[in-house]
């Protein structure tokens, strides 16, 4: 079956088996390996992408289901050669260690800040509670997302 998606702003299409998972489509067919796979039960969230701006676990969606839709992966966060505030903040606040959960965490954080530009500690924790991290204990991930919020609001006021 033919699937056509807009991924990180570019239109890509391919012929795929109906059973192909979106994760495999993104990683294998499109070669965007920043999206990861960490479990078989939609529990860990490292495969999260933004589907029309909303976080979605790509291991739980067939590629054919997203025909015609718009996807953002970690590779799409950098704009015009500039790291996004969330990318800068994860680096500055030591929000990552092994890096495996990081793309998903940053995408969920990006979507959260679109909806809620100034989230509390609890609000960030609730937003990322579908995503596991084994390295950081979440402390610095929360800090990173809040720092990105501060960065963005400075950008707006500047």
């Amino acid at each position: 079956m033919n699937v056509s998606v807009t991924i990180n702003g570019a239109v890509r299409s391919a012929d795929v088996e109906p059973r192909m998972l979106l994760t495999d489509f993104i990683r294998g067919t499109l070669g965007l390996t920043g999206t990861h796979v960490g479990c078989d039960t939609s529990s860990c969230g490292v495969c999260t992408v933004l589907l029309d701006g909303v976080p979605a676990k790509s291991c739980t969606i067939f590629a054919v289901q997203v025909d015609g839709r718009s996807i953002t992966t970690v590779e799409g966060l950098k704009q015009n050669g500039q790291l996004s505030p969330i990318q800068q903040a994860f680096h500055e606040e030591h929000g990552l260690q092994c890096g495996f959960c990081t793309p998903a965490m940053m995408l969920v954080g990006t979507a959260l800040l679109e909806e809620n530009p100034n989230p509390t500690d609890d609000e960030v924790r609730w937003a990322i509670s579908g995503n596991l991290c084994r390295c950081t204990g979440y402390m610095n991930i929360v800090k990173s997302i809040q720092a990105a919020a501060a960065m963005k609001s400075e950008e707006v006021s500047a």
Partner: protein, 789 residues
């Protein structure tokens, strides 16, 4: 909040030596999705492998029918144990010197055991075909507890091993039994504790995997593997597969977390390599999460009984511990040869008493093999839990405040180096300082008042303390080895003509930030800015031999090697500087980054000037170049320590408990990069919380694994995970070149006892004396009900 000791780095932020919270070099690729993990590797002509696993825990294999699987379109080959036996590869050695089936030929010995593998053109087809393999079994009694395993009438699990006529895997003891028994016979009081540290799994978010690429023309095997120990693995592959070691290159690319899970060699690695050798094409095998949890290296599974002899005034007189370890079907810990239960005999903890005796027994069961040091230095986690739980119960039984009881029994600051009753030489410590700081940070007196107040209102508040001592950084090589390989580590430093450098190490980072911190050690020693130093690890063709990253050994061992090789090059640089300054070497003084002539600070050369001269203008009789390698065999291990305080509130109706406050004071000696150290502690505390509250693997009586997916095996999310407040004291290691001790695992070692002590403290007045981990709400509720009855 963080309470930190004074950090006054010797170097500027631009140089970025010790004590700078330098931002991480490795972040750049990860935040752009440009990391390179094993599953990201795609090679031309690459095939995919899937494994057929046993649904039964213990059964004789009567037949294996692969015909239907072979007939699936796209299948290239089906590999069975019988086929591997033709290459003498049906069995392999474990890192503990036992044997393990690669693909089962005679019996299956645990649920999830590897039986056959399918190689196909894509992963979906490989999995389809693997499901079509039909195995006929004769079921045998599954043995799911070590107690049953050791009964005389228990069926023999390891009937493959000559001379193995029981299910006992090992028995080992440490300390002086006679002297200890004599002390116990005369003690005023003996307090005991039975506790079980359940089976847990490191479950890094990236599962294990390999891309095996054996070039049939050249015989070169390039193995991209999730390996915490690429050099040791290369040697094992050379021994197992009979491949010449120079033709094996192990590349351990970016690793998505390890925590001990990526130390063993797994059957899947061996099968993929053998299949690539035979088929002549690259083969990828990446575990599913189910495969990772059901078959690869678990941690813990220790049944422990401890007894403490006490005097009436609260002095510890001696310790007796009897431990039974559930090893699963194969003994595949990665233990030093001499120590069957790893470093469990450090169970005497942070306290000073003259005698102890420890007996450890290991038993085979029909469960997955492993017993890896899960974020732990060879079983020190179980030891620390045992002593810190026992100490709290002993304090209450004797009627003392647990903090006072600890203080009274601590090894004192001036007693170091301290010889423990089981033979460890603790390098340095100041346990009271760490405890003082933790109590001050948590507001000890106020929190005690709050606890009393809460109790008066019918609420249950508990305070738990743990003052742990860890032992990390194995060797020395005389005492510590893996399969005979001495536990040294190495660093190779090459300073290029322009003064930039490359540092190559035998260890392998899995998120600890080596690319950032090891450059800081060189920066400190040579004054070359850390940003001018590239750190390379994880490629056996391009790095010096080392034993790998686990047991918190990278900083204590490879970090020391890095400091020493830097100092060696500084001495060579001195000769060149003397030549450039036309002065005698003895007249030169060093300050970070340059040599100058004593009394004439204007006559100086920088390390960069010297580097250029090393390739362009050498003094006579000195070898050109500015490069070196150092293999560091540590004189002793290092002993990080800390004091953790947890405050919980337990719901008296449901047994649910919440952490109200957690303070963690760590002393890991000199901190190379405080930001990274704190990140390591956050992560370690979270895994400690996980184990104490929710994370464990269990089995039903048929040997079915309960916990082979993330719906049954619970890992805390950000929502459940407590907030942590960190504090720090600094007691340098006297024998480490930069005084560092290692920190990756301290928090996982120290914190579980603090969490459990807090919950038990909340319920002590009700009569509750122990709840085994995970301390889930239903267990708390049941303990309260039992105490009422």
């Amino acid at each position: 909040m963080t309470t930190t000791a004074e950090h006054t780095p010797k170097t500027t932020a631009e140089v970025g030596g010790l004590g700078h919270s330098r931002r991480r070099v490795e972040d750049a690729r990860f935040i752009e999705g440009r990391g390179n993990y094993v599953d990201d590797i795609v090679l031309p002509g690459m095939l995919h492998m899937a494994i057929h696993r046993s649904p039964l825990a213990h059964a004789r294999i009567l037949s294996i029918d692969t015909s239907e699987a072979s007939a699936v379109e796209g299948v290239i080959a089906v590999v069975t144990g019988e086929l591997l036996a033709g290459y003498n590869l049906a069995w392999m050695p474990t890192l503990s010197g036992d044997t393990q089936a690669v693909l089962a030929t005679d019996k299956v010995r645990f649920q999830g055991q590897e039986i056959a593998a399918v190689i196909a053109v894509d992963r979906y087809i490989a999995q389809d075909a693997a499901d079509k393999i039909v195995v006929e079994y004769e079921e045998l009694e599954p043995i799911v507890t070590p107690q049953r395993s050791l009964e005389a009438d228990a069926p023999l699990i390891r009937d493959d091993k000559e001379g193995q006529d029981t299910n006992q895997c090992y028995i080992w003891e440490s300390g002086d039994k006679e002297a200890t028994d004599a002390v116990f016979a005369k003690a005023d009081k003996v307090v005991d504790l039975d506790t079980f540290y359940p089976r847990s799994h490191p479950s890094p978010l990236e599962t294990c995997g390999i891309v095996a690429d054996v070039n049939s023309a050249t015989g070169q095997a390039t193995l991209y593997m999730t390996s915490q120990a690429p050099h040791a693995h290369r040697t094992v592959f050379a021994l197992v597969a009979g491949l010449p070691e120079q033709n094996i290159r192990i590349v351990s690319p970016d690793i998505g977390g390890g925590f001990g899970n990526k130390v063993p060699v797994y059957p899947g690695y061996v099968v993929a390599t053998a299949a690539s050798l035979v088929i002549g094409q690259p083969i990828k095998w990446v575990e599913t999460r189910y495969e990772n949890l059901i078959s690869t290296g678990f941690g813990r599974d220790y049944h422990m009984h401890g007894e403490m002899a006490l005097s009436n005034d609260g002095k510890i007189l001696g310790l007796r511990v009897d431990m039974l370890s559930d090893q699963g079907a194969f003994f595949s810990d990665a233990q030093p040869t001499k120590f069957k239960a790893g470093l469990f005999h450090i169970v005497t903890g942070s306290y000073d008493y003259p005698v102890a005796h420890v007996t450890t027994r290991g038993a085979y069961t029909n469960k997955a093999p492993g017993g890896v040091a899960y974020r732990c230095s060879f079983r020190v986690t179980e030891a620390s839990y045992m002593i810190e739980r026992l100490v709290q119960n002993a304090a209450y039984e004797i009627g003392m405040d647990p903090a006072e009881f600890r203080r009274k029994n601590f090894i004192k600051k001036d007693q170091f180096p301290y010889l423990s009753p089981t033979g460890f030489v603790y390098d340095s410590g100041d346990y009271e300082a760490a405890l003082d700081l933790a109590m001050e940070m948590v507001g000890w007196d106020e929190i005690q008042k709050e606890k009393e107040q809460a109790r008066a209102e019918g609420r249950l508040v508990g305070i738990g303390l743990a003052s742990f001592t860890e032992v990390v950084g194995a060797g020395h090589g005389d005492d510590y080895d893996i399969l005979g390989l001495r536990m040294f580590d190495s660093a190779e430093l090459r300073i290029h003509p322009t003064g930039k450098a490359i540092l190559k190490l035998g260890v392998r980072t899995q998120g600890q930030g080596h690319e950032t911190t090891f450059a800081q050690i060189v920066a400190e020693e040579l004054g070359i800015p850390a940003s001018d130093i590239k750190v390379v690890e994880g490629d056996t063709d391009n790095t010096p031999y080392g034993l790998g990253t686990y047991a918190s050994r990278s900083t204590p061992v490879a970090g020391a090697a890095t400091a020493v090789v830097s100092r060696n090059l500084r001495e060579k640089a001195r000769k060149i500087a003397a030549h450039l300054l036309e002065a005698s070497e003895d007249d030169l003084e060093w300050e970070v980054g340059k040599f100058f002539v004593k009394g004439d600070r204007d006559s100086s050369v920088t390390i960069q000037d010297v580097a250029f001269a090393a390739y362009t203008n050498m003094p006579e009789g000195v070898e050109p170049g500015l490069e070196g390698v150092h293999y560091y065999d540590p004189p002793n291990m290092t002993y990080p320590f800390g004091s953790y305080v947890v405050v919980v509130e337990v719901d008296p109706d449901t047994g649910q408990w919440k952490v109200r406050k957690m303070v963690a004071v760590d002393d890991c000696g000199v901190r190379i990069n405080p930001m990274i150290v704190e990140g390591q502690i956050h992560g370690g505390l979270t895994e400690g919380f996980a184990m104490s509250s929710m994370q464990y693997i269990t089995f039903d009586e048929q040997g079915n694994c309960i916990g082979a997916n993330f719906l049954d095996y619970l890992i805390p999310t950000a929502w459940e995970t407590p907030r942590f407040e960190l504090g720090e004291t600094v007691t340098p290691s006297p024998h480490h070149p930069i005084g560092a001790k290692g920190v990756g695992e301290s928090a996982t070692v120290g914190s579980p006892a603090a969490f459990v002590n807090a919950v038990v403290d909340a319920l002590w007045h009700l009569g509750v004396r122990n709840i085994d981990m995970p301390v889930s709400a239903d267990r708390v509720w049941a303990a309260m009900e039992e105490a009422k009855a």
